[in-house]
């Protein structure tokens, strides 16, 4: 038994293209794409590349909303091309452009380096608590479900840059750290395994930090993973102010759990390889 394919509808893709090496300024190029129900914007771009214009450039990797590579401006909103179905946002025409608030490498490829440098500045890793245990663990850090709940939502960030592209403050002030790095600062400040909160707060509370946020909330509307960076930033402001006034509650260090008493290593499991970095 054969199933008939749903009929395709022609949708015009208006793509903002720019090659800094060749073009004086960006231009809009239009392509007709036959769209079937369920087809994603990423698939539409593949159709153009394979059938209409091989020179079109964009960035993608996982095709399932995990890697955060294919963020772009779709009908004026920052979205992931891979998890946006064309017919959900367009009936006859669709406009595409690179993420704003970033330099353009080519066509739909933004240069995300500025975002990653700001991300690195907030020390987005667990550090400062128990370096000896982190480097040579003798047991497991133990977190309660409540401990986990404090930062779990913010750990779903895939660093796609959609929030940075939507941020009106970043649009006027390129030195502002932006929603993604600041939300990650809050995420690590709330991890009971971490002890670098003070150093991180120095960066987050600087003149380019969280107090530049006007709470427009566009970052949370744009986030494809439901991270809600705006909420993280407001909590971070409160955390910094309470810390400044010395009214914040001191967090207990993360509990450690050694191996269970009497536990034996299962036979046949080889030893871990030696450290390559000391």
């Amino acid at each position: 038994m054969t199933q008939s394919r749903p009929s395709a509808r022609n949708i015009t893709f208006h793509i903002r293209r720019y090659d800094p090496e060749k073009d004086a300024e960006p231009g809009i190029f239009s392509y007709q794409v036959p769209v079937r129900p369920g087809m994603t914007v990423l698939e539409g771009l593949h159709y153009i590349k394979e059938n209409l214009d091989q020179s079109l450039a964009w960035r993608y990797s996982c095709r399932m909303g995990v890697c955060g590579s294919c963020g772009m401006l779709l009908n004026g909103r920052p979205m992931l091309a891979c998890n946006t179905q064309i017919l959900d946002i367009a009936s006859t025409e669709l406009t595409l452009g690179p993420l704003p608030n970033f330099e353009i490498i080519r066509d739909l490829v933004p240069d995300l380096m500025s975002m990653f440098e700001k991300h690195r500045a907030v020390m987005p890793h667990i550090s400062g608590a128990d370096e000896g245990e982190l480097n040579d663990p003798a047991g497991e850090f133990y977190q309660t479900p409540e401990d986990l709940e404090r930062y779990l939502q913010f750990s779903f960030c895939i660093k796609c840059g959609c929030c940075m592209a939507a941020c009106p403050t970043l649009a006027t002030d390129e030195r502002y750290l932006g929603p993604m790095p600041l939300a990650q600062a809050y995420r690590y400040n709330n991890d009971t395994r971490d002890g670098a909160g003070e150093a991180r707060s120095d960066v987050a509370g600087s003149s380019c930090g969280v107090f530049r946020c006007h709470y427009a909330g566009e970052c949370s509307r744009a986030c494809p993973k439901g991270v809600d960076p705006a909420k993280a930033l407001q909590h971070l402001k409160r955390q910094l102010v309470l810390g400044y006034l010395r009214l914040g509650t001191k967090r207990k260090p993360c509990a450690k759990q050694g191996p269970p008493a009497g536990a034996q290593r299962k036979p046949g499991i080889p030893e871990a390889p030696p450290y390559t970095i000391t």
């Binding site: 509370g205 003149s207 402001k237």
Partner: protein, 127 residues
């Protein structure tokens, strides 16, 4: 972290201004109803005789100087924030901060002098 301090005091100043401006409204614009700091009932709150009576009270003079200080801080910090969003260079930001600090201190000095002079004049008039 310094910006955290500035911002914290900016917010705290906003709350204090809200309270002090509430007292100002109750005194100056609803004095007939509240009777607050109206030494001569039947006269307008803003009449010279009531103004002089208020000027002669050290608590109100101190309150005025306090309100002036926090209002200047709150307003000028807000202005600084707006100016910083014009993507200024770090050197320009520093110059703006220094200029606003000098402006604020100057206005605070002028306002304090005026309040103290009015206080002294009210005491002299009282004899």
């Amino acid at each position: 972290m310094r910006e955290t301090g500035y911002w914290t005091w900016h917010m705290a100043a906003g709350v204090v201004i809200f309270i002090l401006l509430g007292m100002h409204m109750a005194t100056m614009h609803a004095g007939g109803l509240t009777g607050l700091f109206v030494s001569h009932p039947g006269e307008e709150s803003v009449s010279l005789i009531n103004s002089q009576a208020r000027d002669g009270r050290a608590l109100l003079t101190g309150g005025y100087v306090f309100l002036l200080g926090i209002a200047l801080y709150h307003g000028l910090y807000g202005l600084r924030t707006i100016l910083f969003e014009l993507s200024l260079r770090p050197a320009t930001e520093k110059a703006v901060s220094v200029a606003l600090l000098i402006l604020g201190l100057g206005l605070f000095g002028l306002g304090t002098w005026a309040a103290l002079a009015a206080h002294a004049a009210a005491l002299a008039a009282r004899g």
